[in-house]
């Protein structure tokens, strides 16, 4: 606000007075924040974490008498082709989907920050070499890389899927980190810290990270999102989690059968939960990105 009032003094000289929005002071704290998304995501998150209080049935129990039932009073969202209660599976499986999203993002962010920082502070030739390597890694189709890595790691489980997704999705964050670090590395405080004998990780954590954290925050949230998408896609295609490990993706892997019998609820319900979660994350991510001020249009 101080900026604006100072500009008003210059209004006589010809600088446009910036419209000081009076209402802005009166705006509520939640104004402009993606409130609906935060609440929805909160509900999904809380429901998944406290799944044992919500579940009406055992999600892994296969009720062979009641398989492939449409939603009704007893089975709120119906049952799948193996006779499991979809309502319970949603909450139980959501926990695993979200967990994989968070785990793999944690893995990829750590790799990205370290790789980006090394590449950003390294001498020119090493930097070029590292960037070329990333480019080559990027040029292998993602899906093929995932299939091969998964095969190397063995039987798919929560950890191995997270590692595979994490290892294949760090490049875009690494590029941003590298660009930021390259701009920061010759600033006085970094040089000073280095002169005082600060180690690589000390400088990275205390001096570099606080500066680039805001620019990668948005990408980190988006990475959680794409990790969840990737897990569900892989499980759907039969190369991710097996049917016994319930997640939204592995629930959808039954959809080929469901298409044949026309059981729409098996496809629709997990999908809606998936899409709503992803949508909320996108909204929050976009909000983080919008934090950078928008200037007045000249048109």
């Amino acid at each position: 606000m101080r900026q604006a009032s100072e500009n008003e003094k210059f209004a006589v000289v010809g600088i446009r007075p910036q419209e000081t929005p009076q209402e802005e002071t009166r705006q509520k704290w939640y104004k402009g924040k993606p409130l609906l998304s935060m609440v929805l995501l909160g509900i999904v998150f809380a429901g998944c974490m406290g799944s044992r209080f919500i579940m009406t049935k055992d999600p892994t129990y296969m009720d062979l008498l009641n398989y492939n039932l449409p939603p009704n009073g007893e089975f709120l969202f119906g049952t799948d082709t193996m006779g499991r209660d979809i309502f319970s599976m949603i909450w139980y499986g959501g926990k695993i989907s979200l967990l994989i999203g968070l785990l793999s993002t944690a893995i990829s962010t750590v790799i990205a920050v370290i790789f980006g920082a090394v590449s950003g502070t390294a001498p020119q030739w090493l930097d070029t070499l590292l960037m070329r390597l990333t480019e080559i890694l990027l040029s292998v189709p993602n899906l093929l890389l995932v299939i091969l890595l998964q095969a190397i790691l063995g039987k798919p489980g929560i950890w191995s899927i997270s590692i595979v997704i994490g290892v294949t999705s760090w490049t875009s964050i690494a590029k941003v980190v590298r660009t930021e670090v390259r701009q920061l590395r010759s600033s006085e405080y970094v040089v000073a810290a280095r002169c005082m004998g600060g180690g690589f990780f000390h400088i990275l954590w205390n001096h570099l990270a606080p500066n680039f954290v805001s620019s990668i925050m948005f990408m980190v949230v988006m990475n959680i999102r794409s990790a969840i998408v990737e897990e569900s896609t892989l499980s759907f295609m039969g190369i991710g989690l097996p049917l016994e490990i319930i997640s939204w993706g592995s629930m959808l892997s039954l959809s080929e059968k469901a298409l044949l019998t026309g059981s729409w609820w098996i496809i629709l319900i997990p999908g809606i939960f998936l899409v709503v979660t992803l949508l909320c994350m996108t909204e929050i991510g976009n909000y983080l990105r919008r934090q950078v001020n928008q200037k007045e249009s000249n048109l």
Partner: protein, 335 residues
């Protein structure tokens, strides 16, 4: 610039290109061999289980699978440089033939999809920027965000459920009805659903980028000048702003060629569309090594080539910055 420098310039690029392809082939070779799995299964099918150890050994010998890895690689490289990429274990035909028979389908799906994405994104982006923060913009932005959130495979499933199973309007799999191979209309019908997915899943990302770039441009000082000179909104947006963002859009689209063209894996798999996507999926899953190598290298070449095209475009636009730096500043983050 002198002529000699041009030679050096392109020579250097070519060298980087070749080295990259070589490293790529090596990486794929080692990763694929490290992955457990029996390539014999894809060659002999279920008969492998009944084979005696001697027969297995003989078969592996025949396919050259029991040499040391680096020997295998040098052998492969030598053959590849002579134009012989080996045979596909599964199809028992020359790899190039197998790919050739599928390539057309993917090019149609990805190529037309790419052009559609390119044009529609531009139009949609301009439309949104024109009506910034008005109702139309808000609605399009919301719908766009929602579509960009829907996982491709689930979207495909929903379309199949609605249009193929409930309404019975469109076929749900393949690229033509058996027995009607030459029927163009039949092929078009089979293309509609996969094409919709390809276009919708990419469209909003680029449209939103265009929208934001125009909005950024509109806030520049020259727009104020143009306006004070009395130019209309249309002249400013189309004559000045668009001209400024088009080159960078072109370079971004060049980078995304492999993205759109190669991003048809999931769509092809869901719709059992006989293209490169399903082929690579099969080859990676069933360890069809020779096929996998060629597919990876092809897509690698495409990616590296497109990156170089984008770099060149960027260098042409603004010779002050080196192309490599321009690539980083242009937002090519997949969301």
């Amino acid at each position: 610039m002198k002529k000699k420098n041009y030679f050096l310039y392109y020579g250097r690029k070519l060298l980087i290109f070749l080295v990259s392809v070589l490293v790529l082939s090596m990486t794929v070779f080692y990763i694929s061999r490290l992955a457990p799995g029996d390539p014999l299964v894809s060659y002999y099918g279920d008969r492998v289980e009944k084979m005696s150890p001697q027969e297995r050994e003989w078969a592996e010998e025949k396919l050259g699978l029991n040499d040391a890895l680096h020997v295998q690689y040098v052998h492969w490289l030598n053959n590849a440089l002579h134009g012989d990429f080996g045979i596909s274990y599964k199809y028992k035909r020359d790899v190039m033939e197998v790919i050739g028979s599928r390539l057309g389908n993917t090019l149609i799906l990805g190529g037309i999809g790419f052009v559609l994405v390119f044009v529609l994104a531009l139009l949609l982006g301009i439309l949104c920027a024109w009506y910034e923060n008005r109702l139309a913009d808000r609605i399009i932005c919301k719908v766009g965000t929602v579509t960009s959130c829907i996982p491709e495979f689930w979207f495909s499933l929903m379309l199949i459920l609605i249009f193929s199973i409930e309404l019975k309007w469109l076929p749900s799999s393949g690229s033509y009805t058996i027995g009607k191979e030459g029927d163009v209309w039949d092929r078009v019908l089979h293309l509609i659903l996969p094409m919709t997915i390809v276009v919708i899943s990419h469209l909003w990302y680029y449209a939103y980028m265009i929208r934001n770039k125009i909005l950024e441009e509109v806030r520049a000082d020259y727009v104020l000048l143009a306006k004070s000179k009395g130019l209309g909104k249309r002249r400013i947006v189309f004559g000045h702003c668009l001209r400024n963002i088009l080159p960078s859009y072109l370079s971004i689209m060049a980078i995304s060629v492999p993205h759109v063209l190669g991003g048809t894996y999931i769509v092809e798999t869901v719709f059992s569309y006989p293209g490169i996507g399903t082929l690579s999926y099969e080859s990676a899953r069933y360890k069809d090594y020779n096929l996998l190598m060629v597919l990876c290298i092809l897509s690698g070449i495409l990616v590296i080539f497109c990156n170089m095209v984008a770099q060149t475009i960027n260098e042409q636009i603004d010779p002050r910055i080196k192309g490599e730096e321009a690539l980083e500043t242009s937002e090519v983050v997949k969301i």
